[in-house]
């Protein structure tokens, strides 16, 4: 430490340092053209690079890597699989492709496909996909489409159901999971007390994502058909929003710690794992963390409680070929092989996930445990979110902020929802 150089500086040195600090601000904040590309890019013939979230490509033995090797070996192709944290994936893909580099193939959340498509970052696969399109759930195909063209092939499908703790229900003397909103509220109240709570919610984007089923169950809609106007603040929407927020604000059946669920699904699942919460709504991606975190937990899976109708939200991933790909035919060969009827084992055995194929009901998923069966049954009826460019903005910014301002008691539910609708319509007008 005594060797520290003299830190005194002249005026000029200081001014230059200032420039450095300020320039870094621009670099850090803007990130324009920051793409460095990844792996081999799309350059060399016979080599393809695939990017996916760490959920698919987290470790060296990931099933997707094995599948890529198997196919590559047969075709004389090298397929490099690279994984990125789910929260960063869309941003990574976007900046890499905008910078002229990036992968040939992406496995991305369906809700990000329209934004990639609008940015002309994915290849239109409508014609290539036509022959096989009927083998996939219509909702997943719709979610992977933009303006009547298909930009990605549905890979896995997920939807949201209700998980309930059998032991806590038994202790409270409740026989079965709630089938309606009223039953949900009544059960949640029964199950709240003694440091435990009946139901779980999320903050920020987790809160907005989990709101859509409530909206639909009450007969509401997110946007109009043209995708130009927000409709979620119509009377049915407001009623659903009030009920949803009321679980916390009015009835207190939600652990107050849900306000901190902003970073990961693991935070959301935690209280259910530790039996501090008796019920939560989540997709099949929640099952593996529960099996890992508390293998002995006795819980059941049921469809979400019904409002005026039943509804759940569709999620999952789709596989697209990027504009950086120089060998679209080779990439398509791999994509169509990976999503074909013979390869459902990759998702089923490697990840306990459900392929977005209509034949999953034919017993090919029998190998998955009972908890998965409800999700398989719901796969055909789950509703996709609107395929609009501004979706990420609407769900993870506009609605996320609105939800936060409600649960932090900064705004009334009505005011927050109306303001969010105005902001969402404005976001849609930007295209």
């Amino acid at each position: 430490m005594s060797q520290t150089p003299n830190m005194r500086m002249s005026r000029r040195g200081l001014l230059r340092a200032t420039g450095g600090i300020a320039a870094t601000a621009v670099l850090a904040a803007c990130g324009n053209g920051g793409g460095t590309g990844g792996g081999s890019g799309g350059g060399a013939k016979g080599t393809l690079t695939l990017w996916a979230s760490t959920a698919f490509a987290g470790d060296a033995k990931a099933a997707l890597r094995t599948a890529a090797q198997e196919y590559g070996g047969k075709q004389g192709l090298t397929i490099n699989v690279e994984g990125f944290p789910a929260n960063d994936l869309a941003k990574k893909i976007t900046t890499a492709l905008a910078g002229g580099g990036g992968p040939d193939i992406v496995v991305a959340d369906v809700s990000s496909i329209p934004q990639f498509a609008a940015s002309k970052m994915l290849v239109d696969v409508t014609a290539r996909f036509k022959a096989a399109q009927g083998e996939f759930f219509a909702g997943n195909v719709a979610a992977a489409s933009f303006k009547d063209a298909v930009y990605a092939v549905p890979y896995d499908t997920s939807n949201v159901a209700l998980l309930w703790n059998k032991k806590l229900f038994q202790q409270a003397g409740i026989q079965s999971p709630p089938g309606t909103w009223d039953e949900l509220l009544a059960s949640a109240k029964e199950l709240t007390g003694g440091g435990r709570h009946g139901y779980m919610l999320g903050a920020q984007g987790y809160g907005s994502f989990l709101f859509w089923p409530w909206l639909w169950q009450n007969g509401g809609r997110i946007l109009d058909d043209a995708g130009t106007k927000a409709l979620f603040n119509a009377p049915e929407g407001l009623e659903a929003w009030n009920f949803y927020a009321g679980l916390h604000l009015t009835h207190g059946v939600v652990p107050p710690t849900f306000l901190g669920v902003t970073q990961a699904w693991d935070q959301y699942i935690q209280p259910f794992l530790t039996e501090k919460v008796a019920m939560l709504a989540i997709g099949d991606w929640g099952l593996a963390p529960i099996a890992k975190g508390n293998p002995g937990l006795e819980y059941g899976v049921a469809s979400l409680p019904k409002g005026k109708e039943s509804a759940t939200v569709l999620g999952g991933n789709a596989i697209g070929i990027t504009s950086a790909c120089k060998n679209v035919d080779a990439a398509w060969g791999f994509v169509s092989w990976l999503t074909s009827a013979g390869q459902e084992k990759v998702l089923r055995d490697g990840y306990q996930r459900i392929p977005a194929r209509t034949d999953v009901g034919n017993g090919s998923m029998a190998g998955l445990d009972e908890a998965h069966q409800i999700f398989i049954q719901q796969a055909a009826s789950a509703r996709p979110r609107p395929a609009v460019t501004a979706w990420g903005d609407i769900e993870w910014q506009v609605m996320a902020n609105a939800w936060d301002s409600v649960i932090q008691k900064k705004k009334s539910p009505r005011q927050a929802l109306n303001e969010a609708a105005t902001a969402a319509t404005q976001a849609l007008s930007r295209g």
Partner: protein, 312 residues
């Protein structure tokens, strides 16, 4: 970032020589010597700034490829009328000032301690620097665990000591999120300030202390008339770096709260990030970044003249 500043500080003695009373001889030769450095700095610092400036005057939305066009000040008009900008700017000022004051005061105290002849001084100096060298991702993971409302050790400790009877949600409560993040940022960056100030303290000749003591100056007087004037340049540098680092410290906010809860920790950097990566509007993101740039530039120029100007 750090390397840039280290390079700057290493280059400083050279420019001190140049600004010494001795008149430079003139001619073109000095420019030839300077050219490589100027070109490098121009490329590494100048180009991104100019590119950012240009982007901020353009309609540049990633999801509208081919629609880029010059739109003058319309991005600025859009972001300046965004009510979030004012809040974010206020949070940025609060964040910068609080970090500056806390880090300078604590950093000075630490530097004074490390300057004493204590047993185990080398060990102490190494330990103090640890928060600064830990990567911010690790800092975020560790502190998020420590601060977890239900399973975090901090709340357990406070509960067991009877200091609280309900677990505060440090990062999810509007009233505590910003103060907690400021403390965490102070925890992480104070060591740097302490090291800079320590280096300054070591340049004060012993004779000055001895002379002051002979003149009957007590500790407060020595602090006021010997120590602080002696390390004024170090304080200026540390202050400048602190403001610059803090205001640009996106990780220290994003990895804890993403600007939440309900916008309570939204600053200009998180706002620019949201424009760029949730709306993919690089024009508006660049406009926010340029506003931040102007603000920092102005601040550091004023600060520099206040501290450095008094010398003359």
């Amino acid at each position: 970032m750090a390397t840039t500043h280290l390079k700057e500080s290493a280059a400083a003695p050279a420019s001190r020589v140049a600004s010494a009373p001795r008149r430079p001889r003139g001619g073109r030769r000095p420019w030839a010597y300077l050219a490589p450095a100027v070109l490098l700095l121009g490329g590494v610092l100048g180009y991104p700034v100019l590119d950012g400036l240009w982007t901020s005057f353009n309609h540049s939305i990633l999801t509208q490829p081919g629609a880029d066009r010059f739109t003058g000040l319309s991005n600025y008009a859009a972001v300046l009328t965004d009510p979030v900008l004012l809040t974010a700017a206020w949070h940025t000022v609060l964040w910068g000032v609080a970090n500056l004051v806390l880090q300078l005061v604590l950093g000075f105290a630490l530097a004074m301690l490390m300057h004493q002849k204590l047993a185990g001084r080398a060990f102490f100096r190494s330990v103090v620097i640890i928060p600064w060298i830990v990567p911010s991702v690790v800092v975020a993971l560790v502190w998020r665990f420590l601060l977890d409302p239900t399973s975090g050790p901090l709340n357990q400790l406070l509960l067991n000591l009877g200091l609280i009877d309900q677990s505060p949600q440090w990062l999810a409560d509007e009233s505590t999120a910003m103060p907690v993040l400021i403390l965490l940022s102070t925890w992480k960056w104070t060591p740097l300030v302490a090291v800079i100030l320590l280096a300054g303290l070591q340049t004060i000749p012993k004779e000055l202390h001895e002379a002051a003591m002979l003149d009957g100056a007590g500790a407060p007087q020595r602090l006021r008339y010997v120590i602080i004037p002696g390390i004024r340049t170090s304080i200026a540098l540390a202050g400048l770096l602190t403001v610059g680092y803090s205001v640009n410290n996106f990780n220290g906010i994003w990895m804890f709260t993403r600007g939440g809860p309900a916008g309570a920790t939204e600053t200009l950097t998180t706002l620019a990030y949201q424009y760029a990566f949730t709306q993919f509007d690089f024009g508006r993101a660049a406009a926010v970044a340029m506003i931040l740039f102007a603000f920092l530039f102005l601040l550091s120029t004023v600060y520099f003249y206040l501290v450095e100007g008094r010398k003359r």
